[in-house]
């Protein structure tokens, strides 16, 4: 997956892939390619969703500045 891939771009591409597959009439190789691309994008999106989860850090400005100067 390219470095520039963003969630928004991935979702747009998924829309296209779904539309292409649902329209049908695509060659075998092309279908497999689309499926593979779709699978990768879905995985990327799931990772994006998961990666937004994290801890809640609360600190005073001075604490953070101390931490940053270490």
């Amino acid at each position: 997956m390219s470095e520039k891939m963003s969630y928004g771009i991935a979702v747009n591409r998924l829309e296209e892939i779904v539309a292409d597959l649902e329209r049908g009439g695509i060659a075998l190789d092309e279908t497999l390619k689309l499926y593979e691309e779709g699978a990768k994008l879905l995985e990327f999106c799931q990772q994006e969703l998961a990666s937004a989860e994290g801890r809640l850090n609360e600190m005073r400005l001075s604490e953070l500045e101390e931490k940053l100067s270490e």
Binding site: S6, Y7, G8, V11, L14, I17, V18, L21, E22, G24, I26, L28, D29, T31, L32, Y35, E36, G38, A39, L42, E43, C45, Q46, E48, L49, S51, A52, E53, G54, R55, L56, N57, E58, M59, R60, L61, L64, E65, L68
Partner: protein
């Protein structure tokens, strides 16, 4: 009062001269009951009850006195206050000192001055093109939100609650700063700088967290003075200079601060910032799952189509020339193998949920392909048994004349004729000795 003619008679004593000035000043309405605006310095109240100070601005200054009990003095007035006085000008002859005798003193609404500064700052920013500069886009899913606001404030509690409702556990770093008073501007600026450092990729890696990709700076509602830090140039400049998109979220809907004018997004309230920045997790999860289902459905339908195509191809083969059948059969076998391999390779790479969906699809595709292959194998073996070479393998032989013409009837033979026998592994030359025709076997 001396007249001008008396002046010509000799030198005038200085005291008389000063008193002349004093009289002139006291009788000139320009210098009496004048309304004057300025800033107070050297404010000093004496035990006598008199108060002395200097009224100044950038162009000049003058001493002033408020005699004890002359007028009421607002408690907010002191060193640095900007005031309006109503005063008479007087000259204290003994020292030659000119001063204002204040009859009334009122503070100028501090906000009025601040408002003036705010307007000037907006004009400056406008002339620099900062108000309509391109804004940074907010991340569609924020990975790490820096929130710069007062620790323990109601605004922060609201933001945290709302964020958790929309996207449970979404990553936030709250940087607690003073949001009002003298310390506020400096702390807010430092907060933005610190959040900017957390956006650094290398530092983020060292801290084992994603870089900050958006900053919310703000506070809840308050008086205009309480919110004023967000109208000050250092804070505004820090927002403009930030490498990370900044959302300004100050006060209530109706409060419009200079920070709001320059931020990458203006939220009407701190809660509004969360609503506009943090997506709803469930909605996105649903969307992704929906994509998964639709891709799988559509692809499965395509496999069914191909299976039907294979069937069609098979029925057409029944009428095709012999060699063509072998070639086509080979192609179909190839195709089936490639299809199976491709499915195993490509779908096999998908992970977890995707893999299970892929597996279902792969199995159904493999099953239908396997069924086709079995049918084709039966079909091909039937075709194979009909091939002349296979007949020869079973002990039969084929006769042709020397020109290669196949001979199947006695009518085509003469006694003494040379013939070629085709056997399973070669040919033999022979001569016809005797011909016996059996009746009823001419076809």
């Amino acid at each position: 009062m001396r007249t001008g003619s008396e002046l010509t008679t000799g030198p005038i004593p200085v005291g008389q001269f000063v008193n002349l000035i004093r009289t002139t000043v006291r009788n000139d309405s320009l210098f009496q009951n004048q309304v004057i605006k300025g800033e107070i310095t050297q404010w000093k109240s004496y035990p006598s009850g008199h108060t002395y100070f200097t009224l100044r601005d950038s162009d000049g200054q003058i001493s002033a006195v408020i005699w004890q009990g002359r007028c009421s003095i607002d408690s907010s007035i002191g060193e640095g206050s900007v005031v309006v006085v109503i005063a008479n000008l007087d000259l204290y002859a003994k020292s030659g000192r000119i001063q204002l005798i204040v009859n009334r003193i009122e503070p100028i609404n501090k906000l009025g001055v601040l408002e003036e500064q705010r307007k000037q700052l907006i004009e400056l920013l406008r002339s620099e093109g900062m108000l309509d500069r391109p804004r940074k886009a907010l991340p569609s899913i924020p990975k790490h939100i820096a929130i710069i606001t007062g620790v323990g404030s109601a605004a922060l509690a609201d933001m945290n609650r709302l964020a958790e409702n929309r996207w449970p556990g979404i990553r936030r770093t709250v940087i607690g700063v003073t949001v009002q008073g003298n310390l506020a501007p400096n702390e807010i600026v430092r907060g933005i700088l610190a959040a900017g450092k957390l956006a650094d990729f290398d530092l983020a890696r060292r801290l084992n967290q994603p870089p900050v990709d958006v900053i919310i700076v703000g506070r809840g509602g308050g008086s205009p003075e309480d919110l004023w830090a967000f109208n000050l140039e250092p804070v505004v400049r820090a927002i403009i200079a930030s490498g990370v998109p900044v959302i300004s979220a100050v006060g209530h809907e109706s409060d419009m601060l200079v920070a709001d004018l320059v931020a990458d997004m203006r939220a009407s309230t701190p809660s509004n910032a969360i609503e506009r920045l943090v997506p709803e997790f469930d909605q996105h999860q649903m969307m992704i799952l929906n994509f998964e289902l639709r891709i799988t459905d559509a692809t499965t339908r395509m496999f069914v189509d191909w299976r039907n195509n294979l069937r069609l191809l098979q029925s057409r083969l029944l009428n095709a020339p012999l060699q063509g059948v072998y070639n086509a059969n080979q192609q179909i076998t190839d195709l089936s193998n490639r299809l199976t391999t491709a499915i195993i390779n490509k779908f096999g790479q998908s992970k977890q949920k995707l893999a299970s969906l892929g597996n279902i699809m792969m199995l159904s595709a493999q099953q239908s392909i396997a069924a086709e292959k079995t049918k084709l194998a039966v079909f091909a073996s039937a075709l194979n048994s009909a091939h002349p070479n296979n007949v020869l393998q079973r002990g039969y032989s084929m006769i042709s004349d020397e020109n290669g013409q196949i001979i199947s009837r006695t009518d085509d033979l003469d006694e003494g004729q040379n013939i070629i026998l085709a056997l399973a592994d070669g040919t033999a030359k022979a001569t016809v000795e005797e011909i016996t025709k059996e009746s009823g076997k001419n076809e």
